[in-house]
């Protein structure tokens, strides 16, 4: 049984599906639900991050069902909405997603999708009522729908690309730096001679998803990409590489070597690339040393974020920057088995520091943990602003929701992301340190 949540930062399955869909160019979500479902998504996700609606506002197609449809069923309303969406909205693919009310009423979405297909509409669907799960589950449902239903829709074959690698598991908006993180992971993969298939973000549309089965490897950045990777392994025999978390700084070398090994790449080229990138990052760190000691970087920190981010950032903060992990709070509610493995990964990372590792998506519980932890630096979301102020710790906004922080294409992944992270952390600590 699920519990109530105080100040939840994780929205529902429908919204998670919309987050994925909005990150694929040319895909138009067709919401079959109440008028407010799409608006809640816009307010509680796009706006909570202060940047990021590709349509310039709330979702552009929603059946807005009324009382009549709740009583008599809303399938005919969906039929009409789908047909007209294709006439009104520009798009390559129309993606039906459902809300709670139409699912409770029992509208037959596969049948409506099939009807659309019979008329040669490019349409797929996912059943995404909020009562079936949270935002991450919605991401998984939408990815699965694309993987399972696109092959029936796009039959023509494309010329194969050598060394194609899919990147899965970065949930748009829940990772506010998703676009920048993907770009950097792509740059790293290119650096060792591969062709990244990043699937989301600027210039990435249905084509990339069409190519998903061709890949020689799936890189899975978080637990939320695992279901899709397993499905692809089962269907197409594509192996996958599960990362412990987002690779930030030197952890990128581990990822590149592992990928290189799996695909039998030229180790010399990989090592050369890693060496060049690491040299550059070390140089940045050396230049930062003066500020580091002057502003007292080395302090206890608390980190609140999604699992991949907590692993990646705490690894960099602890293993590279020498800060002291006090409290790590994971907010994306992973499955029990995943929790156990995350605890293991984090225990290996922080074992000598007496760090508390906790799982919570409840704002008041998180505030309580930060209050008792009394770290000298908080990395978290806008929801941590009040408690950070209360305990007198500077706050770096790194996780969803960012609130009044605008992020366009910066990220924390890779070597360049580590430099970005240093810029932000350094600026914050200098601005808040009591310098003489």
């Amino acid at each position: 049984m699920s519990n109530h949540i105080d100040g939840s930062r994780n929205s529902c399955a429908l919204h998670g599906a919309l987050q994925l869909i909005e990150a694929v160019e040319g895909v138009v979500p067709v919401i079959h639900s109440n008028a407010g479902c799409g608006m809640q998504h816009f307010l509680g996700v796009n706006r909570a991050n202060a940047f990021g609606s590709p349509f310039g506002g709330p979702p552009v197609s929603s059946s807005n069902i009324g009382e009549k449809h709740v009583v008599f069923g809303g399938s005919s309303r969906l039929r009409e909405q789908l047909k007209n969406s294709i006439k009104v909205v520009d798009g390559d693919l129309f993606f039906i997603v459902t809300g709670c009310s139409t699912e409770m009423v029992g509208d037959d979405i596969p049948a409506m999708t099939k009807e659309g297909r019979d008329q040669a509409f490019p349409v797929i669907y996912a059943n995404t009522p909020g009562f079936r799960g949270g935002v991450h589950h919605g991401y998984q449902l939408a990815v699965r729908a694309l993987v399972e239903q696109l092959p029936d829709l796009l039959k023509e074959t494309q010329s194969p690309i050598d060394g194609l690698v899919n990147v899965l598991g970065i949930v748009p908006q829940q990772d506010p730096f998703w676009a920048g993180n993907l770009e950097e992971i792509g740059r790293l993969l290119k650096g060792i001679g591969l062709e990244p298939n990043l699937l989301l973000g600027y210039g990435r549309g249905v084509d990339g998803w069409h190519r998903v089965p061709e890949a020689s490897l799936n890189i899975v950045v978080s637990t939320w990409g695992e279901a899709a990777a397993s499905l692809l392994e089962e269907r197409y025999g594509t192996p996958f590489l599960r990362l412990d978390g987002l690779p930030v700084g030197f952890a990128s070398g581990w990822m590149l070597r592992a990928v290189g090994d799996r695909l039998g790449l030229d180790a010399g080229r990989t090592e050369k690339f890693i060496h060049d990138e690491e040299t550059r990052l070390r140089r940045h760190l050396a230049s930062l040393a003066d500020a580091y000691f002057r502003a007292g970087f080395q302090r206890e920190f608390a980190l609140v974020g999604e699992s991949a981010q907590v692993v990646g950032l705490s690894e960099f903060l602890t293993r590279t920057l020498g800060l002291l992990p006090r409290t790590l709070i994971i907010t994306d509610d992973p499955a029990e088995a995943e929790k156990a493995s995350l605890e293991q990964v984090l225990a290996d990372l922080v074992e000598e520091f007496g760090t508390e590792v906790l799982f919570s998506e409840d704002q008041s519980e998180i505030a309580g943990l930060l209050r008792s932890g009394r770290a000298g630096l908080v990395l978290g979301s806008a929801l941590e602003a009040q408690i950070a102020e209360e305990i007198g710790a500077p706050l770096l906004r790194v996780s969803f929701p960012l609130g009044d922080r605008v992020v366009i294409d910066r990220g924390y992944a890779g070597y360049r992301g580590a430099a970005t992270f240093l810029e932000e952390l350094g600026s914050l600590l200098l601005a808040t340190a009591p310098l003489r």
Partner: protein, 470 residues
Amino acid sequence: MSLLKSKAPRIREKRLDTLNAWLGSAEAAKQEFTGEETVQRIRTFSQSSEDDLIYALKLLAGVRESVVIVHAPRGCGAAELCHKVTSGNGRWIVTNLDQKDTIMGADRKLRKAAESAYREYRPEVIFIVSSPVAAINNDDIQTVVEELQEELELPIVPVYVTGFASRNAVTGFDTALHSILKHLAGTSGEVERNSSVNLLSVVEHPDDRVEAERILELFGVGLNLLPDGASTATFRLAAGARFSFTLDQDSGNYLGVMLRDEYGVPYVKQSRPVGLGATGRWLAAAGRALGQEEAATAYHVQESERVRRALGDFSLAGLRVYLALPPATAFAVADLVGEFGGEVAGITVGHLGELQVSELESFSDRYPTVQFHVGDGQAFEELNIVRRLAPDLYIGDGAHIGQVARLGIPLVSLENQPVLGYAGVTALVRRIAAALKNRAFTETLAGLRTPYRDEWLRRSPNWHIKKEVK
């Protein structure tokens, strides 16, 4: 029988013949309401828009020392996250209904959430906001409320919004206000008469509230501002006040009417104080009600002189302005545009009903042939209309303003913009002047495609609006 006995008020469609889809000339819009019968319209294509649940959450986030429990799957509280991170308002808990709850009901979960809210925050009041799932499932919220009320000894206020019963989001204001009065204002027998005056302010900009209070200081009366920033005590006081005065006779209507009909507090209706003329009329109405008309007139002369000096030679002469706003603000801003010598090129209001008839009449007298559009968040229709009209300025407050920006027209958003009273005129004029002075941003966006197909943009904008067949 007291109207407050019911769980929720009748929806705007039924109570005030309110439409949320309509397109035609202003003259025809007037006929729709002054003729025999107002016919509801529906859309055969629609876009996401606000609903009663979101409006209720917006309103309740402004009530002091309260906690909101959203009795729903977790997505129905997403708007609360926005209120929290953009304005710091609101404490909310979502009951996080899952599949099993949709079959078995979830009153135990609701009870636990309320108990936890009480322990954690010791609020003055807990609101329980219903949702599509709770409504369809017919969850017994009432019994839980009665039990909790005894156990926790604080008011627990159920707000029965559904997300689907009304197409007009403003119904959510009515529903929240209905519940507040029913549970927080006391019964009419218990009311103690007092000398204060109610100022009805429903989800207004904080600066607008400050300005209204500043202006009304002139009369030297105690003001109860509600529901924005009110505490539970404010509502009890309001039920015994001398009279109620409003900042928006659409959103505040239900509160004003119920305080009048249920508690005998006279309701002074007046158009929004937007622009110098309307602010003067608004102030005069308050002065009349308090027997201080002369003081009001003198104050208005002095203040408007000050504002005119500050505005210098600002003028909208020769400019055609498109308005896309909630009805009360739209008509008020239309007057302001006229005051500065501009012309309304076309208008979109979120909804239109009986409450707007007199304003609609004056509007259509002045602009009989202007295109009149009713739709909330229906950007596809708006873009179609605005593109054809090619106005010199667009003033709106919708979440889709980023789409409109792609038309390359100078644009002002009122979503986070004070507009009321003398300070409002100055602030709004500054924004408009800036938008007209440097058009670089929207011109930069003008090259981008809108989300719509050219076929749609060439089609008649009323294509998807049909008369409802009952």
